[in-house]
């Protein structure tokens, strides 16, 4: 198992990054990691740039912010431009191609999270949890039971079903990218490259 992992969830204020970060952190705690989650957002309630950093570690976490990203989720163009260069060579980016048109270089997965969220669930608000599902599959973070339990406990009750469906939709998409059958995502935290180049699927 990997001992240390830095994840940044970035986008605009109001895209639900804080909740996604909390779900990720709770899952990490269930998997017995030390977790440190910080947020950065502007004074606006919606809009403006927003990010959540989550560090998972087997050891004590000293500096609380990410510096070398293993995983970057970017839900808008601005954050993709701003943070793509901070991703490590063996890390990856997950982009919401509904909003990100110019794809940065590196190990990129692009998927129209918001468009698909609207298509499947008639609302854009679960793009965050879909992204988390996809990230969980692509990054091989924790097993499905952990995620399901955490979503049940973290998300307000009346939205649990919607969020579970959204998570599964994202997870499924991630599995398809990896050509993995249902329920068989190995939790291989330590793989250097998550996916072979030949297996990468682009929507462009």
């Amino acid at each position: 198992m990997r001992k240390y992992c830095e994840v940044r969830l970035s986008g605009a204020g109001g895209q639900g990054l804080g909740l996604a970060g909390r779900v990720l952190s709770e899952a990490a705690i269930r998997a017995d990691y030390n977790v440190c989650q910080t947020q950065s957002y502007g004074p606006e309630a919606r809009g403006g740039s927003s990010r959540t950093d989550v560090i998972l570690s087997r050891n004590e976490i000293l500096f609380p912010n990410c510096r070398n990203l293993d995983i970057l989720l970017a839900l808008n163009q601005e954050s993709a431009n701003r943070f793509a260069w901070e991703v490590k060579e063996d890390g990856f980016l997950l982009l919401d191609s509904s909003f990100v048109n110019q794809i940065p270089e590196g190990h990129v997965y692009a998927f129209p999270l918001t468009d698909v969220s609207i298509e499947l669930f008639k609302t854009p608000v679960v793009a965050n949890i879909m992204a988390l599902g996809m990230m969980a599959a692509l990054g091989r973070l924790f097993d499905l039971e952990t995620w399901v339990r955490v979503i049940r406990e973290t998300v307000p009750e009346r939205f649990v079903d919607l969020n579970l469906k959204a998570f599964e939709a994202g997870h499924k998409e991630g599995r398809e990218v990896l050509h993995i059958e249902e329920g068989r995502v190995p939790v291989a935290f330590d793989r250097k490259r998550p996916v072979l180049k030949s297996q990468r699927r682009s929507n462009h």
Binding site: I29, Q37, T38, S40, I61, L62, F63, P64, N65
Partner: protein
Amino acid sequence: MIVPWGETKLIQGNEAVALGAVAANIEFFAGYPITPSTEIAELLARYMPLLGKPWIQMEDEIASISALIGARLAGAKSMTATSGPGFSLMQEGLGYACMAEVPLVLVNVMRSGPSTGLPTQTAQGDIMQARWGTHGDHPVIALAPCSVEECFKLTIRAFNLSEEFRTPVILLPDEIIGHMRERVTFPAEDSVQIVPKPVPDVPVEWYEHYHPTPTNISPMASFGSGYRFHVTGLTHDTHGFPTRRKPEVDAKMERLKHKITRHLDKLEDVRMHDVEDSRVVVFAYGSVYRSALAAQELLKKKRKKIGVFRPVTIWPFPDRTVKECLDDKDVVLVPELNQGQLIHEVERMTSDEVRVIPLHRVDGYEITPEEIVASVMEVM
């Protein structure tokens, strides 16, 4: 049960402050919401009705701290939470609480200033405001946590110290600590010590609200308990009535001072890592302390040794320990999220031979370990 005793949880710094207050048996909260401290008020608004205790949102911060003073005089352990601009408004009431010797806890989650500044970003700009914000000579106790777990522990300690010393205590987390979520393992309930309220044991007719004692700390009765006393912001005698007589004025002011300066051993709380055998020491507090420790690790890999010195209790400043431990060093680096506040205290306690170097950052982001390493490499 509100506090998850003995459990391991993911919680936020502000949440830990609210839980710490509940653990310390908070009985009254008054406040006015302000980023980045709002979660404390929000969560206590949820918890306190469950405890059957009052929670009130006042019209502003001056009213909030005034309500706190009134509540504590009536016997209820009180706390408020604010940030820089609100803390400025509270200074008037804070001085009153110092003068009238009313225990209360004031949490100031520090954000970037002056004025509205960068309201959602971190800073350590209120270090000197905590010390000298209110007018006149007055006692101050201020604590700076560096982690979510410490937010919980130091909130309890703040309540304990305020009751023990009959004075306001200020908790100074910076925004990054207040908004950070971390894994916290709560202690067992019986391992946490709560200092009881200092009640008088004399008959009602003998009671003096500011009775001089060898420790300089007087027992305190509450309104409605049968004891009679007078409270004023004017300089007062032992019964609490205004006085201008020199012996009484001097006695009052001396007592206010000595109740802190004669108990430094109880108040002082410092952490030292490899300070003794290093020539270069980083002096850091709050969130910057974590960067300093990370920098120490990075430098170890380069075979460079530095020490890290951290005051947990910022006020009163640990004069004696700083002099003892840092006065023989070559360099003391003081990284702060301001333009240099506590560095002056370090300079005051070290001789001219010690190079005291500042490292500032005021753009609302943390000082990174790499920045500390770069500053250290320049002088090593």
